[in-house]
Symmetry: C2
Subunit: 391 residues, 2 copies
Amino acid sequence: MLSFRVTARDGAARRGVISTPHGEVDTPGFFAVATRGALKGLDPEPARATGVQALIVNAYHLHLQPGGESLARLGGLHGYLGWPGALATDSGGFQVFSFRHGQVADEIKGRRRTAKDEESAEAVKVDDDGVEFRSYLDGARQRFTPESSMALQRDLGADLLMALDECTPFHVPAKYTEQATDRNARWAARCRTEFERLGMAAGQALYGIVHGGVYPELRRRSALAVTGIGFDGYAIGDCLGQTKSDWYGIVDQVTPLLPEDRPRHLLGVGEPDDLVEGALRGVDTFDCAMPTRVARHGHALHPGLPRFRLDLTAAAMRDDPRPPLEGCDCRTCARFTRAYLWHLFHAHEMLAISLTVEHNLRYTARLLERVREAISSGTLLREKEALLSTA
Amino acid sequence: MLSFRVTARDGAARRGVISTPHGEVDTPGFFAVATRGALKGLDPEPARATGVQALIVNAYHLHLQPGGESLARLGGLHGYLGWPGALATDSGGFQVFSFRHGQVADEIKGRRRTAKDEESAEAVKVDDDGVEFRSYLDGARQRFTPESSMALQRDLGADLLMALDECTPFHVPAKYTEQATDRNARWAARCRTEFERLGMAAGQALYGIVHGGVYPELRRRSALAVTGIGFDGYAIGDCLGQTKSDWYGIVDQVTPLLPEDRPRHLLGVGEPDDLVEGALRGVDTFDCAMPTRVARHGHALHPGLPRFRLDLTAAAMRDDPRPPLEGCDCRTCARFTRAYLWHLFHAHEMLAISLTVEHNLRYTARLLERVREAISSGTLLREKEALLSTA
């Protein structure tokens, strides 16, 4: 079982340490997203040196390739990835169901669904037993059940495992969300049972996920069901609404329903302001692909700018001798100019992406270091603006 | 002026040290090719840790973007690239003329020239003054002269500069190669004069290039002309023939015509066996894009295999728990399996390329370390097979 100890409190916010068999995660902390087992082009060694203490990888993608059995024979994910630190796997439910429901980005951008999308949706069949889908690699039919997801995640060998769940989007009827919430609770219980039955490696831990979409009554029902089963930690998942204030409300409602002595993870959230707002509401860990994903488009995280992004591909960067972020202690800012990164992005040199990923991870890790210090000082709310507007 | 001292001899082979204002290059040594200022996705810090002590970047590409003046304002290439070590620029003549003559690869593979190729060729106009071409970025007409090339390379600020030259391919008539060889000699003299006139930064050095294609008489004529002008070092350039024994013959003929006390560089050659064969013939430094280029296609350098390449994308790698090269001391082989690299290549993760570049550079650097030791022991010829068949 996972050890978690709270070392300081500041209102609803708390500072602590999660101990895993592969090292500690200081909380509030960040899980960098290595979907298929890599942080874009960044070597895990400098990634770890940024201060990011944990990775989360995607069980669905690794199931399709190279496969859980192959990974088990190779000794599991830690060695495979060259990542000696804490490691989580998500169940892959989100990815499977995104074919059924469409991508979150489509929903936000109001994209129409095409015939091909409908075909993908048709290919995903959910019933009480589990979910069936087609591999995007070879078209083969695949099935995830709570039991098979546990076996897969055991084979992958991460420290933190996630229960299999269906993540419902905003646009489905409330009735659908209700049915999914209840089914997710039944799946959570089966995951817990199978997790025990399989005899996990010492210290492997399982997180349950709170569902219920934007409906307070469903959130409450889910939180009670999942905490009733009992998990090593709790993730807040499912649809968090359409605006930031939607998810603030959901987290405000849910965290008091979770046990004080267990870590709380907020799934898929990690913009700089989100990290501070989440911490203020008692969230312990976050994961988000944003810091690595936006690097690909030339965006370096930077305080005080719209959406916290500096566009390194903009014409103004061409002759700018400053580092991406003045005062930043990352290895990219210590060595390179905006001008060089502008050039690398325009020359389509992949080094541009690795260097920007490194900066973005360091920015995220440092922001959380400052959040932890503010919690210890009891000043998180007061320092919020300063944390987001300065390096 | 560049300092070069020979510390050991073994037949025609020699071991030595080139001292530049930015550090030493042990010879026989290798210049890694960072065409546009990056080694694919590999950070310069681990690149340097492989033992590769020098980079060569392309003045032509950096002229088009970001431009010599922009780079001069930014303080030159060393800071821009984050490379504190020895740095060379080639003049870019090779790139300009490759539009005129077609790529070497086309020649080797017997590709037919297309109408578009002919148009590119038309767009390159050479006369005694210099060469005119169109930017591949914006179509603007550009002109290189020996004088403008020196000004550009001074602005770039590398330690070793190359004279502007036309590199003739195998398929042109002997008469064309003769005319080009003589024109290159006149350009070399103008480069030398302009190099002196511009007042280079302390320690910047200029290499002359020996031409003459596959014609011994022209090689002799070019070597005499270029050494008569006098340079800090000498590169063997132009067409080296179609087979390895062609270039062995050219190098065998040319090196005795070059001053003993100046370093000799063999342009564009760097396969493992080429490094040993070149060293045996008295070559001091090499540059070649191969170790970085083949990494992109999933090829890890490996002794004793056809063309010294292990195909990490091959099906047999999928479950192979071994490092790319057993016994290799690179950071990639110390941490990762063939299975993981297979997965990363098939998942189109760019980290696959960075990690393979790092291995290939370390392989190349270590081979040359062993070559240097063999020279000191007086056993290079005897050890040739062992150097190429073991790690």
